[in-house]
Symmetry: C2
Subunit: 323 residues, 2 copies
């Protein structure tokens, strides 16, 4: 395995943790299909294998990490429930995983979260505490909820159990497809890309691991270039699930195992998303299409290659489409 061992944090999960996560969560989640399309292969000039986490329970891969974390807790740890700050897919996933475990889930959501996302959390039995839409209020509110309830924190990505869970998508993809030259996953906080990289480099040491990131939220790309965590870009991206920034844990994993972060414009993202809907008949959210965009816009060396792509989610407002 190619790695830069000096930079990898000690608490980074290894491949055995991903295998254990898979055994733990497989009975509860969907083994999502891997689909292909002749016409998209022609557009990309490559063989594309799409892992459909948009068809996953709760509509995204986040249920993998949340379920692994919640079912890794001892009864004592789980007793007072779990808590997370999240405005998006992790919130719904944690609420459902906690319901499966039979404990409460406390979700700290910014007051400007969409009504649809709040309803999704509540439909799984999650208890919402609103905070101001900024990082300081979010962390403060989260600390208050933990103090008051004794709930256990399950961070969306700064958590080895969550990262190990997210790695099970790539594990299944490679089990199903066999040889792959490249695997691409979206990057935001880096949980999915970290788990993907650990699984992929362990199963196929020669594989190239690429992150997909919107140019308007390209902090992971800049961080790897600068060899330190760079702040979030000030721009808006339609990929609203990709606004988080790396933490030291995920940064260290990306530095060790990720070969490239490919940035795509909003136009490239829209084009990729429309093709996925039109040709593959899949509802994929913008954040979910960001791993497809580099290959479909030929932003990476992909000619003739076998490329695995993780379509991470399908939750979006169907009344506000970008096309």
């Amino acid at each position: 395995m190619h790695m830069n061992a000096t930079s990898l944090q000690k608490d980074a999960p290894n491949f055995e943790a991903i295998l254990a996560a898979h055994a733990r969560i497989a009975p509860r989640i969907h083994r999502t299909p891997v689909v292909t399309s002749t016409s998209l292969d022609e557009i990309a000039g490559a063989h594309l294998y799409f892992k459909c986490e948009n068809l996953q329970k709760t509509g995204s891969f986040k249920i993998r990490g949340a379920t692994n974390a919640v079912f890794s807790l001892t009864d004592e740890e789980a007793r007072h429930g779990v808590v997370a700050p999240s405005s998006g897919n992790h919130a719904a996933a944690l609420a459902l995983a906690a319901r499966w475990r039979g404990v409460p889930a406390f979700i700290v959501m910014p007051s400007n979260s969409s009504a649809a996302k709040m309803r999704a959390v509540e439909s799984y039995g999650g208890k919402i505490t609103q905070c101001e839409p900024n990082m300081a209020s979010r962390e403060e509110t989260c600390a208050e909820v933990m103090q008051k309830t004794g709930a256990h924190l399950v961070h969306p990505y700064n958590d080895p159990r969550v990262i190990a869970g997210q790695g099970t998508a790539a594990l299944e993809l490679i089990e199903d497809v066999g040889e792959l030259d490249v695997v691409i996953a979206p990057v935001s906080g880096g949980g999915l890309l970290s788990g993907t990289a650990i699984a992929a480099k362990s199963m196929r040491p020669g594989i190239r691991v690429i992150g997909g990131e919107p140019r308007n939220a390209d902090d992971a790309h800049r961080s790897l270039a600068a060899k330190k965590i760079e702040p979030a870009a000030p721009f808006e991206t339609m990929a609203d699930g990709l606004r988080a920034t790396l933490c030291p844990l995920t940064f260290s994993i990306l530095q060790s195992f990720v070969d490239e972060v490919s940035v795509v414009t909003e136009e490239e993202l829209t084009a990729a998303m429309l093709l996925l809907w039109e040709r593959m008949k899949l509802v994929v959210e913008p954040s979910g299409a960001v791993a497809a965009a580099p290959a479909m816009n030929r932003r990476i060396r992909s000619e003739g290659k076998r490329i695995g792509i993780i379509l991470s989610g399908g939750n979006l407002d169907l009344h506000k489409l970008p096309f």
Copy 2:
């Protein structure tokens, strides 16, 4: 098998023809996934198994019947190509099947067909002849093309080879799911519902076979009630793939093997379609959602039942959605 043998036409395909069709086409088409959703099960009060023909090659089940017909031809019959009148999914399917066989496909399309549909046919190498948008011009133009080219007619549904091919979707569905109490397919010209009914009643004699039809195009419902083929309704439906009417062959099969045709309003159709997109992340066209609408709107006796639903296609203009 429950049947009214007196009414069944002699050229109706039997279950052996469907098995033979499956062996013939399986190497060329997708074995589409069967998907489930806890939240849709709750809405329907039943266990729903969705056969995803929207994920099929060319975006609909039509490739099944077209491929079976084209590969059933002798070299002599196939030599001058194939021809069909169709403005929709059968047109694209026949063009692709003919390309696979290495013969030309002549498609007679009304001059008001959408540009997108014409492009789809051309992208598969089909040769389009335009006709006036009425039945007389369509048949006359089709006859002219046959006269001039010597091409072999592959009608969208009035053809036992096509009906046998369409029946392979239900065959796969029942193979994958096992026991089913009910199976529902859309009905228009009746090819898919005929094939579905023959396969389902042969594999599971106790199964209930239901057609889904828009109230605004309810001629199959009226025809079965009147025991004779009734003319098309004069109304418009968003399910633009469901404007054909039964032919004597499909009418005789429906009379023999179909238990009920359930009609749904445009509002029920839109609601079902939106749920399929939102909850299942599947792009399904209105005609494709019409088999889901009866169960999801509790229009049929479905409480606690295991219900197979054929989502027949996913081709529509994403810039003109009904929601």
